[in-house]
Symmetry: C2
Amino acid sequence: MESQDLRNAGLKVTLPRLKILEILEGNAMRHMSAEDVYKLLLNEDADIGLATIYRVLTQFEQAGLVKRHHFEGGHAVFELERGDHHDHMVDVDSGKVVEFVSPEIERLQHEIAEKHGYEIIGHSLVMYVKAQEGRGGKTR
Amino acid sequence: MESQDLRNAGLKVTLPRLKILEILEGNAMRHMSAEDVYKLLLNEDADIGLATIYRVLTQFEQAGLVKRHHFEGGHAVFELERGDHHDHMVDVDSGKVVEFVSPEIERLQHEIAEKHGYEIIGHSLVMYVKAQEGRGGKTR
DNA sequence: ATCCGTGCAAAAATTTTGCAGCTGG
DNA sequence: CCAGCTGCAAAATTTTTGCACGGAT
């Protein structure tokens, strides 16, 4: 039950927060802007202000429930934090986002940081890609 | 002469564009927001509007003279494109930005993209770090 | 003279904040 | 009942655009 997630985060279990969490969990789109969430909530039935969405998403971020990304294009997008870490590949033609993990890259990152006397707090890796021409590859 | 860079980009050689390019080249800070550039230009003597900075930086970006980054924190920062590709390490305490390259990571990225049927157009890797505790490391 | 570029101010777009009222525990 | 939340609208921030003027070719 997601109420528990909210409690753990020290947040009261309110309708808006549940609705928003629900949207984030139940929707196909894994990366959504505040606007996206807002529109989906309007379609549903809930009458939740955009300001609340921003507030709640920020709280979720601080609570580690959600991750805020800054891809390209001005506005931020949010993604449920499922514990599994991964990076992103954005198809610049279709806008599609593919997630992937590379332990090797992770390891290299730590090595590099250490070499400079740092430790890694977090990182963000986004590859901007487009479908290969000369090859069947994944269908589109 | 940077006039040539401008001509190559199909841009007229104007005072504001030269000044802005000069700032980008001659300043220690390699990553600057439009505001940063604006303030520096005021200190210099030039009376250039913020709007122009945005316009010029966008043109520079399209011309490949400059790269636009979206780190964290809402606003974009710009960096001179020196041909040499590199990624970034941001010290979250001091705000300092360290640049680095890792051919291995690059190679892995291509491998991964290919595995998914894509080719890489570009990428953005930012590591958020902080100084190691147990070790002298880089001075602060 | 023409075309491109610039400054200024207004407009957009995105996110944050103040405040009065409502709600959950 | 009380603290914390919410909605609304206004504010703040960052970036873009409209327009008339100015400069270079």
